[in-house]
Symmetry: C2
Subunit: 659 residues, 2 copies
C-alpha cells in the first residue's frame, strides 16, 4: 500500500498505491468542491485530490449522483480521491447530521479511494479536559471505523486522524493508540490554526510528537496544510501528504502563494515566479481582468508553485539535501526560522531515520546547521571512540584534510603541563565547522570531507568549537593545539610546546582503514577485518584506496564517493565473527533463509529483528535467528522502519553465503 | 538616459533609455551569438541583449551585412542592443586585430545602442605591476573613446569598463577616473573568474570598492554575470545590468540554472521549478530527446528562471525587502553566505543609499541581519541621542512595545549601587533583536516596531544585546534592568532594586512627539516644532496620533504606517528656524526658485547642495542658496544621488511657501 523509495532525515519519497492509481509522495491533494469546482487541478499537476463526503451526503442531488455514478464521475477526476468526513463541519458548526458508521458506509458506497472516520478536531490551546474528552471520542470512532471496514470487507483505504490539541502527551497517546489499529493512513488534524497564527514552533512539537509514535509504514497527512512555504519543513518531519483549498481561496482573495510567503496582488509591481502565468502576464494585466479570469490564473499560479515545491522537495530527498532546503525556506519568516531552530531539539529523532551517506555535500547555512543529525551523530561516535594518550588539534586546510598535511606543521601550544609527546600514541584531529573535531584517519568518510561552511564564523560556531576543545582535552593526557587554532579562537594559551618541530602527521594506511572500519561498523571491526597479510590497492588516477586484501583474498572495497567500506564475502565472515549479535545484523526468519543464502534481497516482512544502530544505506550482515550468516548487503531503510514495515525491501543483498 | 524608480540599500529599480526603447533595470542581457543564435530570447523575457562587435567585424559576411542593414537586422532583435568590443578575445587570445578607435567607429557604424571601448580585462590575483600597467591602457582607451565619441558626435551610448584586478585601490582609482569622464554606463570587468571559483567574498570587495567611486547616475553592469544565484546580492551592491551566455552554455552541457545553484540533468529525478518547461516535462522526457531539442528547452528554463529572479528582485526593491531576499539566496552555497557576512563590513556604505522607511517589515534571518544598515543606522542615532539621568531596560513584549507596558512592570535589578530613581529623568528602553535598545517613546517609528525575529536567539544576538547593555550603562547614572532581561541574558545581577513597585512607564504624548521629531530630523527639532498650545488629534479607530497642532494651526501629520512626521507649512517654518544649515535641507539654484516656491517638484539638476544625512523618502526643506525657505517635500533619492544626478526628480514637493 505504501513504499519508501528514498529518504532524508524523516522525509521520504514514497509511493501510495490506491485502486485508482499510484501517487508519488510527498504529494499535495487540492481540495475539490463537489458543487462549484472551477479549476481542472489535474491539468496543473495534481495526481490525487480530496473532497468532502459530508457535503455530498448533505446535498440530495450530489448524493444520488455519487451513489449512482460514483465519486470519480461526480467530481470529474479519474485519479485517486480522498474524502474527508464531516469533521471540519463539526469543528465549525459544532454538530453534523451523520454518524461515524454512516459516513464510513457512505464513503465506501460512492467508491472513494481513501475514506475518513468522523474524528473530533480539537483546537490548539484548549483546556486539557476538553482535549482529553474529544480524544476519547476520536479514538473510539477510529476503532469503530477500522472494525466496521473489516466487518463489511470494504475496499477503500482508511484514515485515522491524530488529535490531542497542543498537549504533546495526548498527541503521542493518540498516535500510539492509532498505530495499533489497522488503519491505512494517519492524518494529523487540527493544525491549521497553528499555521494561520504563525505558531510554527508549536507545529513542530505537535508533528514531531505525533510522528514519534506513528507507525512508519503508513503515509502521514498534515491536514489542511497547503502553503508551499512550510512544505519542506513538514516533509523533513515525516509528512507525506498535504491538502488544501488555499490555491483557490487565496486566488479568490487576489493572493499569490510562494515559497517565500504570500503576495497580495495589490502590492505587486512584478510577477514573482517563473510559472506560465507569471511569465505571460503582469500584475497590471491581472488587475485589469474580470474577477473570475483573474482568480483562475492566480489559482493556476498557486498550483504551479505548490507542485514545483513538492518536486523540488522530492529531488532534495533523492540528493540528500532536504535540510539545506528546509534551512533556506525558513528564511521566509522569523517564526519559521524559530521553528527550524526548535527542530534542533529533535535531532536525535531525526538521526534515527537519516541515511548515513548521501549524494550531496552537507552545507552549513547558519547556526541551525550545528544541530543537524549528521553533526549529532558524529559527536556521538567521537565520544564513544577509544582515545589514544595524546591529542594534536590542527586548523582546517583544504579537504580532505589528511591529504594536505605533511612535513612540519608549525608551532603548537600546550594545554596543561609539557610532557613528552609520543606520536605513535597520538590522535590527530582537525578543528572545523560543522563537525567540530575530525580525526585525520577518517576524514574522507562522508560527510566529514563532503561539507562546506563559510570561513567567516558566527559566534555559535566559535562556541561550538571551543566546547569541543574543552570537552576533549579531558579525555587526553596531553593536548597540543596548533597556534592558528589558539589565535583564531582566542584560547589564550601561552605555553608553547618546545618540540613543535617534531610534530608530524604520518599517514598510515593500515591505521586509516582500521579507523574507518571502527567508525563505520563499531569499535573492534578494524582489528577483526584487517588481520593477516594486508594488501592495499589504490586507484592509479586518484591515489585513493580502492580494494583491501588479505594476501589475494578480497576483504573490502572502499567506495570512492564517500569512503565507506563495502564488504566482500570474506569481510562479511570476519565482521560476523568479531562483532557480537545483534551488531550490524538484520535477522530474518526461517522462510527467508534459503532466499538470503541465495543472494536474494530481504523483504521487511521476513525480518524478525535488527541492530538499532542500522540506518538506510548501511552495509549489513544478514543472519538467521541462530545468528548464522546468510549473506550481506545494503539496507534500504533504517532499523525503525525495517522492524515496522510489512512490505517492501529491507536489504538489497550483495551476496548470499551459499554462492 | 538613466532614472531611478525605486531603491533599497544600494539596489535600484531604474529605467535605461536607449534609441531602441527603454529597459527596466536590474536587467539581464542574454548573449546573442551573431552567427549561430538558436533561441529567440525576446520570447522568453529579454528586453535587451548583448552581442560581440569584434566577432562581427572579423567575419567579412557578417561585417558587410551589419554595415548594410544594421546590427538589429543582423541578429534579428529590435530592442536595445549592447555590443562588447574584442576585450574578451583579447583576454583569451592575448591579441586582437582591431584598434580602440576602430572598434568604437565600427560599433557606431552598425548602429549599436551601447558600445564598448577596448579595455584590458585583468584577471584576479595577478601581480600588481601587471594590473597597474593594464589599468593605464584601459583608462587611456576609455578617455580616447569618450573623446572620439564627442568628436564624431556619435549617437550610441558608451561603456567604460572598471578594471584593476583584485587590487581594491586600483578598482577605486579606475572607478574614480572613469566617473570623471562622460561615459554612459560602467561595466565592472574581469569578475567571471571570481564567480567561477566561488570567490564571492572577493567579488563583494571588488564590486563595493568599484561602486564607492562610480557615479550613481549611470547604470553599472556586472560583466559576464549570468547565474541567477548571485543576482540578488549583486543588485543589493548596486549592479543594474547583467549579461551572460550561461543560459545557452549551461543548456549545451545539460545543466539547469536555479537560484539555488546548478542542477545537472543526469542527477535530476524531478524538475526543479515552476516554469513551463519544468511543469510540462520530466527529466526522463528531456533525456530521451535529441540533443538539440533538449538544449533549447533547458535554455528556455534557464531564461525563465533568470528573468523570474530579476522580477522578484525588482519587486523586493519596491517593497523594501531586498536584503531579506539576499539573505535567503545566500543559503544556496556557504561561499555566498560568507560573502553576505562580509558585506556586513560595508554597512555604512549601504546605509547612505538605504531609504529610511519601507513598505515591508524588517525580518531577521540570521546573525547576518545584525549588520544590516537599518541596525547600524539606529545604533548611530541612539549613541548621538541626549541621555537622561537614569535608564530602565525592559524585556520585549508585543509590538509596538509602548502600547503594552502599563502598571507595575515587575522586579528590577540594579547595575551598580542603589540610588533613588527619578522617573521624570529616566529613559525607558526595550532590549530586543535586531535593534538592541529601543526607546519606548520612538518605538512606533519604522523599523523599530515593523520587524520580527525568532524568539530562539543565536549567540550573536545574545552578545549583541549584552554589548548594548554594557555600552549603555556607561552613559547613565543609574541603570535598572528588568528581571527577565537579567535572567534571559544570564547577566548575573544580584542586587534587586528595593522600590521596583514604583517603576512605571507613564506615556506622555508630548515627550513622544518630541522624541520622534528629534530622531527623525535631528536633536532639537522636537522642542522647535512643538512649542505653543500643543493639541494632539488621534485616530478614533486606532488611537494613534494623526495630527499635531499649535492651537488650530497644523504643525505635522503623523503617518500611520511608519509614524514618520509629515511637515505642514507651519512645521516647515519652525524646523527651518530651529535647525542650522544644511540640516534637513535640499538647496536649489536661482533657476529653480520660482518653481519650488510654487510647489513644483525639484529636479536634481537644479540642486546645488544638500544635507549629507538625507536619504530617500525623507521629509525635507527646500531652500535657496541664501537658505530662504522655498517649500518642503519628500525626497525620492538619497543625498549622494541628489548631488550626482543631472536628470530626474530629487524632491517631490508637498507645498511651496508661496501658496
Amino acid at each position: 500500500m505504501f513504499e519508501i523509495k528514498s529518504k532524508d532525515n524523516m522525509g521520504r519519497v514514497g509511493v501510495l498505491k490506491t485502486k485508482h492509481g499510484n501517487v508519488k509522495t510527498p504529494a499535495l491533494m487540492p481540495v475539490i468542491h463537489p458543487r462549484k469546482q472551477a479549476i481542472d487541478v489535474g491539468k496543473y499537476g495534481a495526481d490525487i485530490v480530496i473532497t468532502n463526503a459530508y457535503l455530498i451526503y448533505k446535498d440530495e442531488n450530489l448524493k444520488q449522483k455519487a451513489i449512482d455514478e460514483g465519486l470519480h464521475k461526480l467530481i470529474n477526476f479519474d485519479g485517486p480521491i480522498m474524502t474527508d468526513s464531516g469533521s471540519f463541519q463539526l469543528s465549525v458548526y459544532g454538530d453534523v447530521e451523520i454518524t461515524n458508521r454512516e459516513v464510513i458506509e457512505f464513503q465506501e458506497l460512492i467508491k472513494t479511494d481513501i475514506g475518513t472516520s468522523l474524528d473530533i478536531p480539537t483546537a490548539p490551546f484548549v483546556e486539557r479536559q476538553k482535549a482529553e474528552e474529544d480524544l476519547e471520542i476520536t479514538l473510539k470512532r477510529a476503532r469503530e471505523a477500522v472494525d466496521y471496514k473489516k466487518e463489511k470487507n470494504m475496499e477503500m483505504l482508511l484514515n485515522s486522524v491524530v488529535q490531542g490539541s497542543t498537549f504533546l502527551d495526548l498527541r503521542r497517546k493518540c498516535a500510539s493508540e492509532l498505530s495499533k489499529l489497522d488503519a491505512d493512513l494517519y492524518p494529523i488534524g487540527a493544525v491549521v490554526p497553528l499555521m494561520e497564527s504563525y505558531h510554527y514552533k508549536d507545529l513542530v512539537d505537535v508533528v514531531m510528537n505525533s510522528m514519534s509514535e506513528l507507525a512508519d509504514d503508513r503515509p502521514r497527512h498534515l491536514m489542511g496544510a497547503g502553503h508551499p512555504m512550510i512544505f519542506a519543513l513538514c516533509v523533513a518531519m515525516g509528512c507525506d501528504l498535504f491538502d488544501s483549498a488555499a490555491y483557490i481561496l487565496y486566488a479568490e482573495d487576489d493572493r499569490l502563494l510562494s515559497v517565500r510567503g504570500t503576495y497580495k496582488l495589490e502590492n505587486l509591481t512584478e510577477m514573482p515566479c517563473s510559472c506560465e502565468v507569471c511569465s505571460k502576464y503582469t500584475p497590471d494585466d491581472l488587475r485589469a481582468m474580470s474577477k473570475e479570469q483573474r482568480r483562475d490564473l492566480i489559482a493556476q499560479h498557486n498550483l504551479y508553485v505548490s507542485f514545483a515545491e513538492l518536486r523540488l522537495i522530492r529531488q532534495a530527498i533523492y540528493e540528500g539535501s532536504l535540510m539545506e532546503l528546509v534551512e533556506e525556506r525558513c528564511r521566509a519568516h522569523p517564526a519559521l526560522l524559530e521553528a527550524v531552530r526548535h527542530l534542533g531539539n529533535y535531532s536525535e529523532d531525526l538521526e534515527k531515520y537519516n541515511p548515513r551517506s548521501k549524494k550531496s555535500a552537507f552545507f552549513y547555512t547558519g547556526p541551525e546547521s550545528l544541530y543537524r543529525s549528521e553533526v549529532i551523530r558524529h559527536m556521538q561516535k567521537l565520544r564513544q571512540m577509544p582515545k589514544k594518550k595524546n591529542l594534536v588539534i590542527l586548523p582546517p586546510n583544504r579537504k580532505p584534510y589528511s591529504k594536505f598535511f605533511s612535513g612540519k606543521l608549525g608551532d603548537f601550544y600546550i594545554y596543561g603541563d609539557e610532557k613528552d609527546c609520543d606520536l605513535e600514541n597520538t590522535d590527530f584531529m582537525v578543528l572545523d565547522i560543522p563537525f567540530g573535531l575530525i580525526p585525520l584517519e577518517i576524514d574522507e568518510l562522508y560527510p566529514l570531507s563532503q561539507n562546506d561552511a563559510p570561513k567567516i564564523h558566527d559566534v555559535d560556531s566559535i562556541e561550538f568549537m571551543e566546547d569541543f576543545i574543552y570537552e576533549f582535552i579531558e579525555y587526553y593526557d596531553q593536548v597540543l593545539i596548533h597556534y592558528k587554532v589558539n589565535d583564531n579562537l582566542e584560547l589564550g594559551l601561552l605555553n608553547k610546546y618546545s618540540k613543535s618541530d617534531e610534530i608530524r602527521y604520518v599517514k598510515n594506511d593500515i591505521s586509516k582503514i582500521k579507523a574507518i572500519a571502527d567508525y563505520q561498523f563499531g569499535f573492534g571491526a578494524g582489528e577483526a577485518l584487517f588481520s593477516g597479510n594486508i594488501n592495499i590497492e589504490k586507484s592509479k588516477k586518484t591515489g585513493k584506496i580502492r580494494h583491501i586484501y588479505d594476501g589475494k583474498v578480497l576483504i573490502v572495497n572502499m567506495r570512492a564517493s564517500d569512503s565507506f567500506l563495502i564488504l566482500s564475502k570474506e569481510g562479511a565472515k570476519r565482521l560476523h565473527n568479531a562483532m557480537n549479535y545483534p551488531q550490524n545484523r538484520v535477522v530474518v526468519n526461517k522462510d527467508a533463509e534459503p532466499f538470503a543464502l541465495d543472494g536474494k534481497s530481504v523483504f521487511c516482512k521476513f525480518v524478525t529483528d535488527c541492530d538499532d544502530n542500522i540506518r538506510s544505506n548501511d552495509e549489513v550482515l544478514i543472519v538467521n535467528e541462530e545468528d548464522k550468516l546468510l549473506g550481506y548487503g545494503k539496507t534500504l531503510l533504517g532499523s525503525c522502519e525495517i522492524k515496522e514495515f510489512d512490505s517492501g525491501q529491507a536489504v538489497k543483498t550483495r551476496k548470499g553465503m551459499k554462492k
